[in-house]
């Protein structure tokens, strides 16, 4: 694996499978009474969050702590960042503190790439602007494998605001690497110009895609997009691109419905779908911890034998 995880494209097929296999081993830890491994004892993981995201930050924090790393949460609010300190100065500060890994969430696409330029530790992209969110894609692939037994050959529909979605970008790349067949479904205004160069199919018609899909991944509609002129009304969006009970019935029997959260119930996903047996939303959260443990573990040079030696 590369030293950093900035993009899902950084992962070869072997890398990605190694992360998923490692995550699977680490997942068993959650069933044990003591959920901690000594692997990263003495290593420092900094959660550098310039954007609010309690879910992702907590997930990384739990992952690092289960590996016995020291975790420092550095959020923009209440730190020097809100006083105008630059990304570079923040990076130099973390470097001086000896961070072994920096998990970064930032509203600007590419901020983790810049950070990786300035510090020696490993950088993990925990979501950058409208670019990527590679650990989300890994946990999604992990969830698919868990539910459906494989990723290769699956037909995956990714539905919604692809234009602004870092989840969609990382998923398209990773799922392509793992041999799945991805179809993006969105109104044309929410697909980027240039999407035709991506390794996936594109459709504007959700009803036509659902009967052929093993997985439907719903993307969150951001509030600011609802009023940004990308579609006429939220109601029209929900009618054309939301998944409700009728649409769920179009899916093959074993198909699953995924959502990275947080959901807008009644917009992109109806409550009856979110709470159905097809929904993997709660599993995705649990799997997030395992996958992030695997990523930190592999980037910081953990050895798999530690896992097999058992908990502390």
């Amino acid at each position: 694996m590369n030293r950093h995880l900035l993009s899902a494209a950084d992962l070869s097929r072997d890398d990605a499978v190694l992360v998923l296999d490692t995550a699977e081993e680490l997942a068993h830890l959650a069933d044990r009474p003591i959920k901690k491994l000594p692997t990263l004892r003495g290593r420092t993981v900094v959660n550098l969050f310039f954007e609010d995201s309690t879910r992702t930050r907590t997930s990384f924090e739990v992952a690092a702590k289960r590996l016995s790393a020291d975790v420092i949460n550095f959020s923009a609010k209440g730190s020097s960042v809100s006083k105008g300190e630059s990304l570079k100065d923040t990076a130099l500060t973390l470097e001086a503190m000896g961070a072994d890994a920096v998990v970064v969430r930032h509203s600007a696409s590419g901020a983790p790439h810049r950070l990786a330029h300035w510090i020696r530790g490993s950088v993990v992209n925990a979501g950058d602007g409208t670019h990527e969110h590679p650990t989300q894609a890994l946990l999604d692939a992990f969830t698919m494998r868990q539910r459906l037994g494989r990723v290769e050959g699956l037909h995956v529909a990714v539905v919604g605001d692809v234009l602004h979605s870092r989840v969609a970008r990382s998923n398209v790349l990773l799922l392509h690497t793992l041999g799945a067949d991805v179809t993006l479904v969105a109104p044309p205004t929410l697909l980027p110009v240039g999407v035709e160069t991506w390794p996936c199919n594109v459709s504007f018609d959700l009803d036509a895609v659902l009967p052929k899909s093993d997985v439907v991944m719903m993307l969150r509609v951001q509030r600011e997009r609802m009023y940004g002129g990308f579609f006429p009304t939220t109601r029209e969006y929900a009618r054309r691109y939301g998944v409700d009970g009728r649409r769920m019935a179009l899916l093959p029997d074993d198909a699953i419905v995924m959502h990275p959260g947080p959901m807008n119930r009644g917009v992109e996903i109806a409550a009856e779908v979110a709470d159905s047996v097809r929904s993997t939303i709660v599993e995705q959260v649990a799997n997030g911890v395992s996958v992030r443990m695997a990523v930190l573990y592999l980037l910081l040079g953990g050895a798999l034998t530690d896992v097999n030696e058992g908990a502390v």
């Binding site: 790439h113 409208t130 980027p192």
Partner: protein, 424 residues
């Protein structure tokens, strides 16, 4: 003033000969007491003229001053630059353009021709006092809200009409503002992957099409700054075919770099208009070669380090260009066979002088003409090191690249501003 004997020089790439300079003009015999300079094999071109330079003074002297910017210009082979109006305060009144003009005279490295703002404060609403700037000591003929587009069609129409009274030209920064809100890079395959908001080609082309029609309608003169797309080239070609008074410039970086550079997210590649695709680069080179695009202009845009050492979205737009222009044009145009040396002189000296209505620049290297000249060692190459630049700006996208050709000497009306590649 002493004179010069430039021995072995190759004017516009012609076989070696000798050029004589006396009292600031070319003469046909060696003047008494002239200094002889061994220019064996060096290419001589008329002193280069930049239609598009940001000198940042007044207001952002931390990024550049007239002194440092014009020294960079001289080192790049320029004998005249047009200083853009987006200073603080904006050059929208006679007082500011005269100040910049005087600072240029005091620095003495090259002629500084201030560009006047088209509208007050570059806000695109009310015409600035264009006539007062034209009649000032700075004798402004080029007007631009560069950095901003004169996007209101009625304001643009009036400006084009009004300038006819003193043969001025609007240098339009063609960018439809609504189509480029928050735009970060060329809209296309790369922006889709990198998750950066797109700056579509149509936002440039729509304004160019409109302004060609407006210029034709009112009989005004429009010049398009930094055209960057294949579509813009087609529109300019079309307008010229109609006989309309339209000219265009291209920057060295748009002739050389593509949006693939953005993959690093290094803001040194962030520029407005953005780097485009390889197809656009090919179209721009062909258009400069056939004269559809009239001139190379640097859009030299120095920035303080902290405005570039940030995440992409927070960084300022712009690249330095004065000290690398000759080498980049050699690489993009001469070495590829698109232009010969006479063509390079035409696009970097003769035509920009004509568009700016400069009488003392862009003249042939013949007796009687002012001795503005650059000597280029076409066989040399160098590796760009931003720390070595005379410009305060370190934001060159060519850092670390090895480029062909070096400026050896620059003469401004017979006086050496650069000699042996160093400030004279």
């Amino acid at each position: 003033m002493t004179g010069w004997v430039l021995d072995g020089v190759r004017p516009l790439g012609a076989p070696p000969t000798t050029l004589y300079v006396e009292d600031g003009v070319f003469v046909d015999t060696a003047p008494a007491g002239a200094q002889t300079y061994d220019a064996g094999g060096l290419i001589a071109l008329p002193g280069l003229v930049d239609l598009h330079t940001h000198l940042r003074e007044p207001g952002r002297e931390d990024a550049e001053t007239v002194e440092t910017g014009t020294l960079a210009a001289a080192l790049g082979g320029f004998t005249a630059v047009h200083a853009m109006a987006n200073t603080e305060p904006v050059a929208d009144v006679a007082g500011v353009v005269e100040q910049v003009w005087r600072l240029g005279q005091d620095a003495g490295h090259c002629d500084v021709h201030p560009v006047g703002a088209v509208t007050v404060g570059l806000r695109g609403e009310h015409l600035a006092e264009l006539g007062a700037m034209a009649e000032s000591a700075a004798r402004v003929r080029v007007f631009s809200d560069d950095g901003h587009c004169v996007s209101d069609p009625l304001v643009m129409r009036r400006a084009l009409e009004y300038l006819r009274a003193f043969d001025g030209v609007i240098a339009q920064h063609a960018q439809e503002p609504r189509l480029t809100e928050g735009a970060q890079m060329n809209e296309g395959a790369q922006s889709s992957r990198l998750g950066l908001a797109g700056w579509p080609a149509v936002a440039e082309e729509a304004v160019i099409a409109r302004d060609c029609l407006l210029a034709a309608h009112v009989g005004g003169r429009v010049h398009f700054c930094h055209v960057s797309t294949a579509g813009s080239v087609e529109l300019v070609r079309w307008a010229k075919g109609k006989g309309w008074n339209v000219t265009a410039e291209v920057t060295p970086h748009h002739l050389f770099l593509t949006d693939d550079e953005v993959e690093t997210y290094d803001p040194v590649f962030k520029v407005n208009p953005p780097l485009r695709t390889a197809d656009d680069v090919a179209a721009l080179r062909a258009a400069l070669a056939d004269g559809t695009i009239d001139v190379v202009a640097t859009d030299h845009a120095p920035h303080a380090l902290e405005d570039k050492e940030t995440e992409w979205a927070a960084a300022s737009f712009g690249m330095t260009g004065l000290e690398t222009a000759v080498s980049v044009v050699i690489a993009a145009m001469i070495e590829t066979g698109h232009l010969d040396w006479a063509g390079m002189a035409d696009r970097m000296s003769v035509r920009p002088s004509r568009i700016g209505r400069l009488t003392g620049q862009g003249q042939p290297l013949t007796p009687g003409a002012p001795a503005n000249l650059v000597l280029i060692d076409a066989d040399a190459s160098w590796t760009v090191d931003p720390r070595q630049s005379a410009s305060r700006g370190r934001n060159t996208p060519f850092a670390g690249r090895t480029l062909p050709g070096r400026v050896v000497a620059t003469l401004l009306r017979g006086r050496a501003t650069v000699l042996d590649g160093k400030p004279a």
